[in-house]
Symmetry: C2
Subunit: 435 residues, 2 copies
């Protein structure tokens, strides 16, 4: 038996704003950051559980503080007990009525809960000697349903329906796992499409994306309509008619504006329009989807929890569900979101990029393929080719497909040298820039 | 001219869990708390701007930290400039794209923005020598609309519609202000109805409430159906047929459960059912409202922002809108919520109680009466008679009506002795309790 002996939170920021990687209509100058947690134990195995919340700079300290306050309750606790019932460990945080007031189930506090439970998942998968996706796939339908919280979902998904989906998902699951390891999983790239890039850079990166084997690219839109038309024309001309081009407005518009703007871009045969308006606007997304049909609407990276996703599925607000590894309450809540998506027959194409999102969210897509939806149709994981070098097990995309990881853990562990360099504000990377 | 010279945040908690004041089906043991902000300047006037976020205990430190990080940007800034354009001061925080990632517009970060802008409002009203409600009423329709953010609202409320509402609101506004000062504003009391109270205490407090002049009381429900029936029978028998009895489930139920439970309580002729399910569930509230009609559904104390309120009004999810002084992004966002409610013809009955909520939210109801809805029909402010003694200008209810304050400021300033006693964990009130 072992005990949690340390909780260490770190404010880690990368100076991405200098190169305008990640710039879009709402986020002109992000510094991709991680409010990062390490859970240490007194076990001889020397393993650390790691989890994080992705942010884009200022406020990363606020998130790190929330994680620190929340996680400190686990110091001195029995590790085997915490890991044996991950549903109970998660609910201990979710159902703390005093902490719940700070959301409920949204924003800084909810993301902190996600980081903490994800760190325990990382530790548990490492102890099991399995990558997280395979570790989740090894659980029975009953064990999986016991991980989630069906409160507020019963009008859309009952416990029995969740069990049915997971039981059906067992058919052929071993074959799908083997196929994943052999062939990987589809990726799409946002690399060419950041607003801060010149037309020349857009064209070069779009050409390279196709050469690299990607079948979908994504462009940011919403700052200037004429710019969008010009950039989409360049992109479509460069990639040809058979490569899918998605667009992403990052919540820039009101409803009429979204519809009118996108009607003018429809000629470019778009794969989807992502985040056309507020991520809280279930009814607004539904109206946009109706009026822009058949152009699909995608959203999810800022959707706060399973209750909003439930409504978006009920109201047909989205045709592509973009789950995020760090936005909701961790692996547990994301399992319930995968089940909701399966129930409504909507494909999940996770949001990734940022820092560490590709590394972590991929596990959820593989679990979805092996155990839940059993399908890759219309499914792919976002990929942005930056900051992977800071992770112990970096995400890898070859020929437009993710290589499926086999290393134990959840993919969230950062390299010690990277932490040392980019811890904010004292890391030597930052002192060099600022000094 | 003067400069912001200090930002001081304090974690202040009151040991309310010891007496079970404030206990309900979701919150069995709250310690009412305030993450409290003082903004100091170098002006000779010696005035301090105060604002806070109400929480119920653990996590108050997380909220205080968020306020500290956020507010620190204003140290060294020109006070007159910040106060002259409160729309710009607010938007500087709301539109900080890096901080926005932590919500957007919800939870810990959004409430922190509310506390900071409310502290500036307190300072501005004090400098003007006016209570906040009167200070807001002194602004022109154009000045008021410039305070708010209509983004994501245009499908429900345009700038022209907002201006029209405010221009119509000027008719008779001086008479209504005079009437407020003479006669006060309706209150209702939650005092008798906490779940932790014995039947005897419920009966005694209900009898006292009627004797004190209240025309509505509220009971917490949702923990046990038979208990609810017994308690409502006691309450109805005690207050007679003419006093309104509202009920509050504090998010306890899923949709079917809410409908089935409340159908069994309908015989007690209820004024409303409050928070039957998740505050995020616009569609769920709408379905509950349809199936329970004509029993009104009320919600709002946990509604995160104007975008959710907009949808709840569009979908007819609520018949009573319960704004909260601390949940959303402060006075500015609450003005937009009052305008939405006026547009849809829904009465606003603010959530209060807790600590400092009565003191602060009353200003918004008076502003609503004087300048927006122009009506008291179906409108009243919640009142819970505790913790008022900690405020410099405590809320006062006489004969079932709020006495309207005339002291300058927003009502948020706490007494120095109270702060000293209950600052957590070092205040002498806490050191005495904890041994």
């Amino acid at each position: 038996m072992s005990t949690v002996t340390s909780i260490r939170t770190l404010d880690i920021r990368f100076p991405t704003s200098i190169f305008l990687d990640g710039s879009d209509a709402m986020n002109p100058d992000p510094d991709y950051s991680a409010a990062y947690l390490q859970i240490g134990t007194d076990s001889d195995d020397g393993l650390t559980g790691t989890g994080f919340v992705f942010t884009i700079g200022r406020g990363n300290d606020i998130e790190a503080n929330a994680i620190e306050v929340l996680a400190s309750r686990f110091v001195g606790r029995d590790v085997e007990e915490l890991l044996a019932d991950m549903g109970a460990t998660w609910r201990e945080m979710m159902d703390d009525s005093q902490l719940r007031w700070l959301g409920p189930e949204k924003g800084v506090m909810h993301m902190a809960i996600g980081a903490v439970i994800n760190a325990f998942w990382d530790l548990r998968a490492k102890r099991a000697g399995q990558p997280l996706w395979q570790h989740l796939a090894s659980l029975s339908p009953e064990e999986l349903v016991d991980l989630i919280d069906l409160r507020y979902l019963s009008d859309a998904l009952t416990r029995d329906e969740a069990l049915d989906i997971l039981r059906r998902g067992r058919d052929g699951s071993e074959e799908r796992a083997a196929e994943l390891l052999a062939d990987g999983y589809p990726a799409y790239t946002t690399g060419p499409g950041w607003l801060g890039y010149s037309d020349e850079k857009l064209e070069r990166l779009a050409r390279e994306a196709v050469a690299d084997g990607f079948t979908q690219i994504k462009l940011k839109v919403g700052a200037d309509l004429e710019d969008d038309k010009r950039r989409l024309a360049i992109a479509r001309r460069t990639v040809g008619p058979d490569i899918r081009i998605a667009t992403d407005a990052n919540q820039r518009w009101d409803i009429d504006q979204a519809v009118e703007w996108m009607q003018q871009l429809a000629e470019f045969d778009l794969a989807w329009i992502e985040e056309p308006t507020s991520p809280d606007d279930v009814l607004g997304h539904a109206e946009i989807a109706r009026r822009l049909a058949p152009m699909p609407v995608a959203t999810g990276e800022h959707v706060q929890n399973r209750v909003i996703f439930k409504q978006m599925l009920q109201a047909k607000s989205l045709a592509v569900l973009q789950m995020d590894a760090c936005r909701v309450g961790g692996v547990n809540e994301n399992i319930s979101i995968l089940l909701l998506a399966a129930k409504f027959g909507v494909p999940v194409c996770p949001h990734a990029g940022g820092v560490g999102l590709c590394e972590t969210v991929q596990h959820l897509s593989y679990f979805d393929y092996v155990c839940v939806s059993g399908s890759q149709d219309g499914r792919m994981i976002e990929f942005a080719d930056h900051l992977h070098e800071h992770f112990v097990t970096p995400a890898s995309v070859v020929g437009g497909r993710y290589r499926v990881p086999t290393a134990p853990g959840a993919g969230s562990e950062m390299r010690a040298a990277s932490i040392e360099e980019w811890v904010f504000p004292g890391g030597h990377g930052w002192t060099k820039i600022n000094g």
